[in-house]
């Protein structure tokens, strides 16, 4: 048996001893082919990509395996060359949205924004629930929008405890492993990817205007002791002038901008038998849908791996990334409430002076940052070097050491110039803005993070006979530090000008400038081991152990231990299936159990910190200082123990395949941030106490519905849900009923979901004729009709019966803020050179637990208290008035004295992604001399069905207080040669 490696152009020659030899062609990621020589002397083969999911490489911590050999619950998403690759997303997490059951991804609502992310529900009550991100094998503490989507090859999500245990202390919230592209062909490939598109609001609310606005204002004032409701009287002088001039503004439209998005990426990659390289650069220019929301990012990366001898290889990866978020967006709250009878600019001074105060209230022009300067730039550089030694003498044993250093810099600046203090209605101010130079102020800060990670791993990989063993032993340590330097200055009267902005802070009044410095440090160490054993490809065993230390825990409590074990049985390898049930191509049962840690607290939380501020005596400033939190001398790990049962199957010639997982986890020693009674003088304290259980079901299914020469149709479905239950908190049973007491202050209820909503029960709105209700409970018509559901007897015990008054006892669990379930359906059609892809995302509320409620006060009450007598509100929504009694929305001046949350179900069904791609014919490509040429059109967040009132349900978008979720259309091209 002998072997050779092909040359640069793919040619090869090999000497064989018999004319009937068998040649085996193999390459990572491609299907292995065996051909009998049968006397031929020239054998040309075309290798094919390995389409079977079973042989897919799955990246697990500090190593890889194949889907076939996997024992845990790992979702893998192949991005490279899949329909996902052309989705118009600016953050790679959105590629996981809907495609990976158990992973909840939120929406993006600003240019360069990051979506929310949660794996298998919330395990921690009050510490961090953020999953660990691993980039190309190394723990990554940056933000994922530092990596261009076009550079991503695969994303793997470790969900069960045994898989994640290798990352011990940081794994309890799941692990997301991002792997970037590598060189694939001997011939160097140059790729160019580009898309260009436009974006807008998924749901743009319509505000009142004209008569509807006037009526709302008059109705509002009539309830506030105003009797003269003539248009002239209810409008301010300036509003009235605009009214008479017939001028109105649609402010939400005004603050929106034409929002183009453009992305360019170029990469050069290739491989030889010794070297693999991938170099890329990308540029993204994105405008958000709000005026002034502007984002530019630039990434550069280079990756090279080289095998210098049989036993030694090394690699080097460097990445540079930069993001520029500089710029202000208008204030959406002000724009929502702002009167339509107003002007953006002072008449005659368009583009120069804002018309600021249309009414004598706190409503100010949404563009109030127009005169100010902003700076928000970030950049980072990260380098990883590794060296791998195949230890001579012992086959399969290797040692790899890798070191990563990264540095991130945040540059922030702000300056408010004198024009921001001018009231444009006062001529003496407008003519002399310089008088406000003593108010001008600015700040500039630079925050620098430095971190390094050192990994040392000894691996063993060996097959003999029916046995296959892989194992590893490792030691890792990392350190993170963040330093900030800031400077601020106020009063540029003596400087005579504020034109230098935040770069001229040194010219501020000497008594009113100053700065600060800070540093935060944390460090981790970890020891880990993993053993995989496979017998006859049927029986699989994985055992994992990790011991971790984290600096932020209390002295003597810094270390934790996290074991995991998993077994799997590939039934389809058994003869009775292999020979008896040909419909089953693959069937594997899995079970795993393990403990994962969560270190989700910040440094110094265990120390009794003091915080400071300033006060004055006379005309002198003095520092203040006071203890700001309680110390905890025993704070340590939060641990999640979980059991996962799963099955993978592939049926009917692989036409139907899927995974089903069920899990149950217990998170104990919660890093609980307990709210303390005000008597302590402290708001909250971090303690290791309490238990939260999660359980859930995850299903993913893929079917190939039609597969013919010209037409292929496949469907993917995912469905998952998670439920949690609070088992215990601090263990207090003050009322002595044998059951731990609820902690109502924190909204923690024993035996209930952590996302329980505890509030009053509402039965519409009190009507004028509800005299019984008004006589019993007081209040006024137009109030919320709160239901009296409970009361107390003479001993003070709850009776469960109405008691004739509305009080705290009338609150109960009325719903749940987490979704009932999530589901997603994708369809991919190939017809000749066309590929059509779309997916529908479903996040369902309702159900038995009245799920997915979210507070939506702005859909029921006008804007904030100080403005609500003059502010605008959503169009077409009826509200209670004495002569038009709504039973849904209370009177416009309702002050909500019981602090009710005004919940709505925000479940939705959304056509989330659509893409249509065209691959050019080989003939055309040859003619053009290109290897690949694809044109595509995509759309994101196209149609949404929901009962939610306001902005987008996906981010529980409340009128005036949330940012718009973005809808995108793009046109793109992939070109490589």
């Amino acid at each position: 048996m002998n072997g050779v490696v092909t040359a640069f152009d793919g040619s090869y020659s090999i000497s064989v001893s018999t004319a009937n030899a068998t040649l085996v062609f193999s390459y990572l990621g491609l299907k292995t082919k065996e051909l009998k020589l049968e006397g031929q002397t020239q054998l040309n083969i075309m290798m094919e990509e390995d389409a079977s999911r079973l042989d897919e490489i799955v990246v697990i911590g500090y190593g890889t395996t194949t889907r076939k050999d996997l024992t845990g619950s790992v979702s893998s998403v192949t991005v490279e060359n899949s329909p996902l690759a052309i989705q118009s997303t600016t953050n790679l997490l959105q590629l996981l949205q809907g495609t990976t059951p158990g992973v909840d991804i939120g929406a993006i609502s600003s240019a360069g924004g990051s979506p929310g992310l949660l794996v298998r529900g919330q395990n921690s009550i009050s510490a961090s629930n953020a999953p660990l991100i691993v980039l190309d094998g190394v723990i990554f503490d940056g933000s994922l929008n530092q990596i261009g989507n076009d550079d991503i090859a695969t994303i793997d999500v470790l969900k069960d405890a045994s898989s994640a245990a290798i990352y011990g202390s940081r794994s309890a919230n799941g692990v997301i492993i991002v792997t970037t592209k590598r060189g694939k062909s001997e011939k160097p490939t140059i790729s160019f990817n580009h898309y260009t598109g436009v974006q807008n609001w998924t749901r743009l609310p319509k505000m009142k205007s004209g008569d509807e606005f006037l009526k709302y204002r008059a109705d509002n004032l009539s309830l506030r002791n105003v009797t003269d409701l003539s248009t002239e009287n209810i409008l301010s002088a300036k509003e009235y002038a605009a009214y008479q001039a017939g001028h109105q503004m649609d402010w939400l439209k005004e603050i929106s901008q034409f929002a183009p998005i453009q992305n360019y990426q170029v990469s050069i990659s290739g491989r030889t038998d010794k070297t693999n390289y991938y170099v890329s650069g990308s540029l993204l220019e994105q405008k958000g849908v709000l005026d002034g929301d502007d984002f530019t990012s630039f990434n550069l990366s280079a990756k090279i791996e080289n095998k210098i001898t049989d036993w030694l290889s090394y690699g080097l990866t460097t990445r540079y990334d930069s993001q520029d978020y500089t710029g202000f967006s208008p204030n959406i709250n002000q724009a929502t409430g702002y009167t339509p009878y107003s002007y953006k600019w002072l008449q005659g001074r368009e583009g120069e002076v804002l018309d600021k105060y249309p009414t004598p209230s706190l409503l100010v022009n949404p563009y109030s940052n127009f005169y100010n300067d902003d700076l928000d730039k970030r950049w980072g550089i990260r380098g990883t070097g590794f060296m791998k030694v195949e230890i001579p003498g012992i086959e399969g044993l290797s040692f790899k050491t890798s070191y990563t250093q990264s540095r991130r810099v945040f540059d922030d600046g702000f300056f408010a110039h004198e024009m921001s203090f001018v009231n444009p209605d006062v001529e003496s101010q407008l003519s002399d803005p310089q008088q406000f130079l003593d108010r001008t102020s600015g700040s500039k800060s630079t925050t620098t993070s430095n971190s390094w990670v050192l990994d040392n791993v000894l691996s063993y990989d060996k097959s003999f006979g029916n046995h296959k063993i892989t194992g590893l032993l490792g030691y890792t340590k990392d350190k993170f530090e963040r330093e900030a330097v800031s400077f601020s200055g106020t009063d540029f009267k003596e400087a005579g000008s504020s034109v230098l902005g935040f770069y001229g802070l040194q010219f501020a009044n000497p008594e009113r400038k100053g700065g600060g410095t800070s540093i935060t440090e944390s460090s981790n160490v970890g020891y880990f081991a993993r053993l995989n054993y496979i017998f006859k490809d049927k029986y699989h065993l994985t055992a994992t152990y990790r011991r971790d230390g984290y600096s932020a825990f209390s002295e003597g409590h810094k270390f934790g231990e996290f074991p995991g074990v998993a077994v799997a049985w590939t039934v389809s390898e058994e003869d009775f299936i292999k020979n008896g049930i040909p419909q089953i191509n693959h069937l594997k049962f899995r079970a795993s159990y393990g403990e994962n840690g969560n270190l989700g607290i910040s440094p110094y939380e265990t120390l009794a910190g003091v915080s400071g501020g300033a006060t004055i005596f006379g005309d002198q400033t003095f520092n203040t200082i006071n203890q700001s939190n309680l110390a905890n001398k025993t704070l340590s790990w939060e641990t999640t123990t979980s059991l996962n049962l799963g099955v993978n199957f592939s049926l009917f010639k692989n036409r139907v395949s899927g995974d089903i997982d069920v899990y149950k986890s217990e998170t104990t020693d919660q890093l609980l941030s307990r709210r303390l009674p005000p008597f302590t003088g402290f708001g909250q304290v971090r303690t290791n106490i309490g238990q939260l259980d999660n359980k859930g079901l995850e299903v993913s299914l893929k079917t190939v519905n039609v597969s013919s020469k010209d037409f292929e149709w496949s469907t993917g479905m995912t469905f998952w849900y998670n439920r949690n239950k609070l088992v215990s908190i601090v263990g207090i049973d003050a009322d002595g009923d044998g059951i731990e007491d609820d902690d109502i202050g924190n909204r923690w209820f024993i035996g209930e979901s952590l996302s329980s909503i505890y509030d009053f029960t509402i039965d519409g709105v009190v009507q004028t004729e509800d005299s019984d209700y008004l006589d019993t409970y007081g209040g006024n018509p137009g109030d919320l009709k709160i239901v009296d559901i409970n009361g107390r007897d003479n001993e003070g015990n709850l009776t469960g019966e109405p008691d004739g008054k509305i009080d705290a006892d009338d609150r109960s669990i009325i719903g749940n803020s987490s979704p009932n379930y999530r589901a997603n359906i994708t369809n991919t059609f190939h017809y000749k050179n066309f590929q059509l892809y779309f997916d529908i995302n479903i996040v369902s509320g309702g159900g038995k637990g009245n799920h997915y409620l979210s507070g939506n006060q702005r859909a029921f009450l006008g804007t904030s208290t100080n403005n609500n007598h003059v502010a605008n509100w959503i169009s077409g929504r009826e509200y209670w008035m004495p002569d038009n009694q709504s039973n849904i929305v209370p009177r416009p001046n309702y002050s909500n004295p019981f602090g009710y949350g005004f919940y709505q179900n925000r479940g939705f069904v959304r056509l989330q992604n659509v893409s249509l791609a065209y691959n050019f014919d080989d003939g055309v490509k040859e003619l053009l001399g290109v290897k690949e040429l694809k044109l595509y059109l995509t759309g994101k967040n196209l149609l949404t069905k929901t009962d939610w009132v306001g902005l987008d349900p996906e981010n529980a978008g409340q009128l005036a207080s949330s940012s718009p979720v973005i809808r995108t259309f793009t046109l793109g091209v992939n070109l490589s040669f």
């Binding site: 506030r224 002791n225 301010s236 002088a237 009414t359 004598p360 040692f399 209605d425 003593d438 050192l454 040392n456 800070s518 540093i519 440090e521 460090s523 600096s551 810094k558 110094y604 009794a608 910190g609 003091v610 915080s611 501020g613 300033a614 006060t615 004055i616 006379g618 005309d619 002198q620 400033t621 520092n623 203040t624 200082i625 006071n626 203890q627 309680l630 110390a631 307990r674 709210r675 303390l676 009674p677 005000p678 008597f679 302590t680 003088g681 304290v685 303690t687 207090i732 003050a734 902690d743 109502i744 202050g745 924190n746 006024n780 109030d783 705290a808 001046n893 309702y894 002050s895 019981f898």
Partner: protein, 531 residues
């Protein structure tokens, strides 16, 4: 590289590598070791005091000054809390906030008192240490008085909380007052007579507060003695100001009661001898204000004549009127009733209470500058929002930088000598010595050139009305009325109509905020009766 990483692994032990050290901030271990650090710690209590006067907009700050009682109300709608007392529930936000502030005072004070007595603290003398402890005890007493007056008994916390304690129990109201009294006896003994800086508490402040607490405990003699130590000069040289003084003393047509509230005139150190304790505010200075760049007192209390469209105003406020927002209007009792039979009381002159307002433009048949007659004010909002008396203690006609919206920034009297007289008068009344009570009030009347009164005029109502004439918008009226158990009675008789109709006897004590009850999971905090 391989070698160096191996070397690195062994060269540094895990324990050292994971050791946590705070490099950029103090902790309780090293923050309270000398006098300067204790002064800084105590300064945080003065920050809370500033917050009480400058935390919220609208009717927020005036809450403790008597929102919805006999002194003032929200004129912009009748269906919100304190116009409608039914809405004063355990969910009401201002009471909730009040509890938090007091226990922050108590937390800081307990840290002072405890840490100052620890070994390893550098003191130059025992006097120096005791004065620091005395200042801590003063604030603790101030907080317990602030709590006990409005809520009744609240849990007494007399040492630093070091564990997450959640099973506090209510003490009685008397225990709280008694606890405050003991602290104040210490404070008055060890505090200095004169303050090192304007705004710092002194012996006199402790005695003033002690007088009130003794009244609460019906220790009339103790109250009289404490007040007398302030009045008679034993605690320092305090006197009622009688002549014109301060930054605008030369302007004619004004008087002493106007001077008292001009910017820059409040501190004892700048010549105001009746100022006992003054909360400090300053424009454009770090720590000089808390929110909005200024306390919103003028905006809150003054009418919005500048936007009175039908009287010819255009909605742009000039320096001369200020930019009131009529969030809080004095009651008719305060504006009118209490001034009956007061002769030419200086406190009721046009300079001190501006009652005359003029047309802003020609409004036929009236011309610009004509007095707006009563007959013109026909709609309810006219006198609720646009034209009602502006008390000069809340605003100015010459704003900082000419800015009518936020250019009135003065210090706030927490304690002023006239109140010491009023406290002593109350104690004399309690003791049955009405003639002495009348004499104390006549000291105030003499200065105000108001007709003198006799012993037969004296009752608690008279003292409460006199407090309005002298201290409206200064005294914590909520606390005064609650400690006397008269919040219901006075509001019922003299409050704004919706308040009169909704106030109930239970309102003499405020509800314990539900957040407080819910947060104390380890023991029940009993709600006050009726809530």
């Amino acid at each position: 590289m391989l070698l160096s990483s191996l070397l690195f692994m062994v060269s540094c032990s895990d324990e050292d590598f994971l050791k946590e050290e705070r490099k950029d901030a103090f902790t309780t271990e090293n923050a309270f070791l000398n006098k300067a650090q204790f002064e800084t710690l105590l300064a945080s209590n003065y920050r809370i005091l500033q917050t009480i006067y400058n935390s919220g907009d609208a009717d927020s700050d005036p809450w403790v000054l008597g929102l919805g009682t006999d002194v003032c109300f929200w004129p912009l709608g009748d269906t919100q809390a304190y116009n409608d007392w039914n809405l004063v529930t355990p969910f009401e936000a201002y009471t909730d906030r009040w509890v938090s502030w007091q226990y922050q005072f108590i937390r800081n004070s307990n840290t002072v008192i405890d840490a100052a007595q620890k070994e390893g603290v550098e003191w130059n003398s025992n006097e120096e240490r005791d004065a620091i402890i005395a200042e801590g005890k003063f604030f603790r007493a101030f907080a317990y008085r602030n709590l006990a007056n409005v809520f009744g008994g609240m849990p007494i916390v007399n040492e630093p909380v070091t564990e997450p304690k959640v099973d506090f129990k209510r003490n009685t109201r008397e225990e709280c007052w008694q606890f405050a009294k003991e602290d104040l006896e210490f404070a008055r003994t060890y505090l200095n007579t004169t303050a090192k800086y304007p705004g710092k508490v002194t012996k006199a402040a402790a005695d003033h507060l002690l007088a009130e607490v003794n009244i609460c405990l019906e220790d009339w003699d103790g109250a009289i003695d404490a007040a007398s130590r302030v009045i008679d000069g034993k605690d320092g040289d305090y006197q009622l100001m009688t002549g014109r003084f301060g930054t605008r003393a030369n302007e004619t047509g004004k008087n002493i009661f106007w001077d008292l509230f001009r910017m820059g005139n409040q501190n004892y150190e700048t010549g105001n001898k009746e100022a006992i304790w003054v909360a400090q505010f300053e424009d454009k200075l770090s720590g000089g204000t808390v929110n909005f760049g200024r306390p919103t007192v003028e905006r809150t209390w003054w009418n919005r004549i500048w936007n009175f469209r039908k009287a010819g105003y255009n909605g742009v406020a000039p320096d001369s009127t200020g930019r009131g927002a009529s969030f809080v209007r004095p009651t008719d009792h305060a504006n009118f009733t209490i001034w009956k039979n007061t002769g030419n009381d200086l406190r009721n002159t046009e300079a001190v209470i501006k009652r005359k307002f003029y047309f802003g433009a020609d409004v036929p048949p009236y011309a610009k500058g004509d007095l707006i007659p009563k007959s013109f004010l026909t709609a309810p909002e006219d006198t609720l929002q646009f034209v009602y008396p502006n008390w000069s203690k809340f605003g100015t006609d010459k704003h900082i930088d000419g800015k009518p919206d936020n250019g009135y920034i003065r210090d706030f009297y927490v304690m002023r000598l006239p109140e010491t007289y009023l406290l002593r008068a109350e104690a004399y009344l309690g003791k049955g010595q009405k003639n002495l009570a009348a004499a104390d009030i006549n000291v105030l009347h003499t200065r105000a050139q108001s007709p003198l009164i006799s012993a037969s005029d004296i009752d608690i109502d008279y003292i409460l009305d006199e407090r309005m004439r002298e201290l409206l918008g200064e005294e914590f009226r909520m606390l005064t009325l609650c400690r006397l158990g008269l919040l219901y009675d006075r509001t019922k008789r003299f409050g704004y109509e919706p308040a009169r109709n909704s106030i109930k006897e239970k309102n003499n004590l405020f509800p314990i905020p539900q957040r407080v009850i819910d947060g104390n999971v380890g023991a029940a905090i009993e709600q006050n009766p009726g809530y």
